[in-house]
């Protein structure tokens, strides 16, 4: 009787252990599907398989996951898979869930956009948070650069002008503005600005190279060749 009772007790314990194991294995999976999908997606994404990761990210969101980190990672996976609109949707969702994104977060998103050839999206993002971006010199310079690379020369001119008002003589802004004028085809103005930089600092190599390029773009080939030779130290 005792033996029978003992063995049935053992049976119950074993049953309980098996049940706990099953719950731990399958129950967790069922109860935390969104996290399971997210972790699977993360593993694939980190392993360089963004296309495989993307549907799992989407499943995790469908199950209710909405963490900013997951949205950022999913945006990265979408961009890497060439799905720019989907990425933009994830990033919008990220910004909606983040009451006040930090400058680092904005930089990260803008960097993602730019890294996948969307400087216009990066510029638009920065512009939405313009006061905060323009208060930071490096971010302001990046905004101007995104704008000009997106072909928004007028906006870039205004941004560079604002930077030069806030930080007079800022060398990157002076050079950037001169180059932007060149990209916009305003060669006389561009040459004037680059010339001013060179007069103030004849040893500025980037300004000298820009000057050679501006001469070349404007069709003054003979002078451009001479400037390139000066820049390269070939001039006789």
């Amino acid at each position: 009787m005792n033996l029978t009772g003992k063995s049935s007790q053992t049976g119950i314990y074993i049953g309980l252990i098996v049940l706990l194991g099953a719950v731990a294995t399958f129950g967790y999976r069922e109860l935390n599907q969104r996290l399971v999908f997210f972790r699977q997606a993360r593993i694939l994404y980190d392993a360089g398989q963004p296309e495989a990761a993307l549907p799992l990210f989407e499943k995790s969101f469908a199950q209710g996951l909405s963490s900013p980190t997951a949205l950022m990672l999913a945006a990265g996976a979408a961009l890497a898979s060439g799905k720019k609109e989907l990425a933009a949707a994830f990033l919008d969702a990220f910004l909606l869930r983040t009451t006040r994104p930090t400058l680092d977060q904005l930089n990260e998103i803008a960097g993602l956009y730019d890294g996948y050839g969307m400087p216009e999206a990066a510029a638009a993002l920065y512009s939405r948070y313009a006061p905060r971006v323009m208060a930071d010199q490096a971010a302001a310079l990046r905004l101007a650069d995104f704008q000009r690379r997106a072909g928004e020369f007028e906006q870039a001119r205004r941004t560079y002008a604002a930077i030069l008002t806030a930080w007079p003589g800022q060398p990157e802004a002076r050079l950037g503005l001169a180059e932007t004028e060149g990209w916009a085809g305003a060669y006389p103005r561009a040459l004037e600005l680059a010339g001013e930089i060179l007069r103030a600092n004849p040893g500025d190599r980037r300004a000298r190279l820009l000057y050679a390029r501006l001469l070349s773009w404007s069709g003054r080939f003979g002078e451009a060749i001479q400037e390139y030779r000066n820049y390269l130290g070939d001039a006789s």
Partner: protein, 221 residues
């Protein structure tokens, strides 16, 4: 009536033969001529160009391109050589130098440089230049392989298809040449020059009646 038709046929055939003699490009392979105006793009603003420190080879490459653009091929080649000294494993630069050598009249040097490059390193323009140079040098099979590879990627590139059709005709592989011509003529039925070339190859293949039919289509009614 029959005599009149026969006379018309002979006149048309005579015209085909006249074309064969009077259009050198049709009668024999000819080395591609250096172009007076190089196909390098005009110097133009390049967004992102000043980002970060510019290495000297990059500036020198710009100088080499500018010299080439302005027709100073020898000076340009010197600068390209300097770039290659800094970047010996840059096939794109080597291919550009080959084109400059060609424009400067140094065809053999251009061909040798292009032929030494790995096939996958050649861009479409350089690959086609190599094929043209090989064809002009009588290396039809090698040239044909390049044309066919290009056509596998771009089947609607009729310029290349025409080059292949011509090359096959120079090899006297008339059936293959005519097959290519038929594709071109069917894609561009109003191109009189191509149809005349087609007629010429038909005559070379001994299909004089067909040549006459094609040739007649190129004359105004």
């Amino acid at each position: 009536m029959t005599i009149r038709l026969a006379l018309a046929g002979k006149a048309a055939l005579a015209a085909v033969l006249f074309l064969a003699v009077s259009i050198p490009a049709l009668s024999q392979p000819k080395s591609p001529a250096p172009q007076g105006n190089p196909t390098l793009p005009a110097p133009a603003p390049t967004p992102g160009a000043l980002a970060g420190e510019i290495p000297d080879w990059q500036a020198r490459l710009e100088l080499a391109r500018l010299l080439s653009y302005t027709g100073k091929f020898e000076e340009s080649a010197v600068e390209y050589e300097k770039v290659l000294a800094a970047r010996p494993d840059d096939p794109a630069v080597s291919a550009e130098l080959a084109r400059v050598l060609f424009w400067g009249g140094k065809r053999e040097a251009a061909m040798a440089r292009l032929a030494a490059l790995p096939k996958e390193a050649l861009d479409a323009e350089s690959g086609l230049l190599l094929a043209d140079l090989l064809a002009a040098d009588g290396q039809y099979d090698k040239a044909g392989v390049i044309y066919r590879e290009r056509l596998a990627k771009a089947p609607n590139d009729l310029k290349v298809r025409l080059k292949l059709a011509e090359l096959l005709s120079w090899k006297k592989d008339y059936p293959a040449s005519l097959a290519e011509y038929e594709r071109i003529v069917s894609a561009r039925p109003d191109d009189i020059q191509v149809r005349r070339k087609y007629a010429l190859v038909l005559s070379w293949a001994g299909r004089n009646e067909d040549a006459i039919v094609q040739l007649k289509k190129t004359f105004p009614d």
